[in-house]
């Protein structure tokens, strides 16, 4: 029992840690696209670990089930929002700061490369 308790506290602490790191990254990183990575850290790892810890605390009850639903909701809506955001930002004409642009990679291999043509570093 005490072991289970310790495990749940450990999970909650990990969740708090990732939430703080995500928020910190949101401040620190240089442009929208990189910040979106940091925000998805909160959505997935932060909320995931925290809710896992809470689930252990709640035991096998309806509360656990609802926690699972909230988590699933976050996991399904998170990528949709991030994708919509990145796509809208690109469409408006926001240029991401890049260290390397490999978007032209596929064009070298022709317009319709075979599926096994991928993975070749350009």
């Amino acid at each position: 029992m005490i072991l289970l308790d310790a495990a749940s506290w450990l999970l909650i602490l990990a969740g708090c840690f990732f939430i703080l790191v995500g928020a910190f990254g949101l401040l620190r990183l240089p442009d929208v696209f990189t910040r979106a990575h940091s925000a998805s850290l909160i959505d997935t790892l932060g909320a995931g670990f925290l809710f896992a810890g809470l689930m252990i605390q709640a035991g096998f009850t309806q509360v656990t089930l609802k926690l699972l639903f909230v988590l699933l909701l976050l996991f399904f809506t998170g990528p949709v929002i991030t994708h919509a955001l990145a796509q809208a930002a690109l469409q408006i004409g926001l240029k991401p700061k890049l260290a390397e642009d490999r978007r032209g990679r596929l064009d070298e291999a022709g317009t319709a490369p075979a599926p096994d043509g991928q993975g070749r570093p350009s």
Partner: protein, 157 residues
């Protein structure tokens, strides 16, 4: 068959969320389930894409795999954020999705976005444009490990 199992799942969902087992509420839930089923059928929403019953067994192995990927990628992003010197290498690349159905490509794109460090920014046919926080994340995707895994998931394996 598909409609009936969908209805059963909806009703169980309703039961789980309500948590009350009085006859009046049970019948109310049943009626609302039937109403939702009726409208969903009229709108032709219950098909293989929106209710992929054949994928449920495959999902039971795909989700744990994806969770592990998320944890690994998340740790990499955490390290990148906390490194005293901000030496991230944001990279954009394009990868080919080998899935055959639109739902499969959507699953691949969403899996990419769900793992921290990589975001699908655009879909054009079966070519996905991806923004990665680190160069390594982009190269990993180009090597196609996740793509193969999603393709396997799509075929029910």
């Amino acid at each position: 068959m598909r409609v009936i199992s969908f209805g059963v799942i909806l009703y169980l969902f309703w039961l789980a969320l309500s948590g009350y087992f009085k006859p009046f509420l049970l019948i109310g839930g049943l009626l609302s389930t039937l109403f939702v089923l009726y409208t969903a059928r009229r709108m032709k929403l219950i098909d293989a894409e929106s209710y992929p019953a054949h994928l449920f067994p495959a999902a039971s192995t795909y989700w744990p795999w994806l969770l592990w990927e998320i944890i690994k990628a998340g740790w990499a992003v955490t390290k990148a954020v906390l490194r005293p010197k901000l030496d991230i290498t944001p990279t954009m690349t394009r990868v080919i999705a080998t899935q055959t159905t639109p739902a499969g490509i959507a699953t691949y794109g969403n899996s990419i976005t769900l793992t921290p460090g990589t975001i699908t920014t655009g879909v054009d046919g079966n070519i996905l444009t991806v923004h990665a926080l680190e160069r390594g994340g982009a190269v990993d995707l180009e090597e196609g490990g996740m793509d193969a895994r999603v393709s396997r998931f799509e075929k029910g394996g």
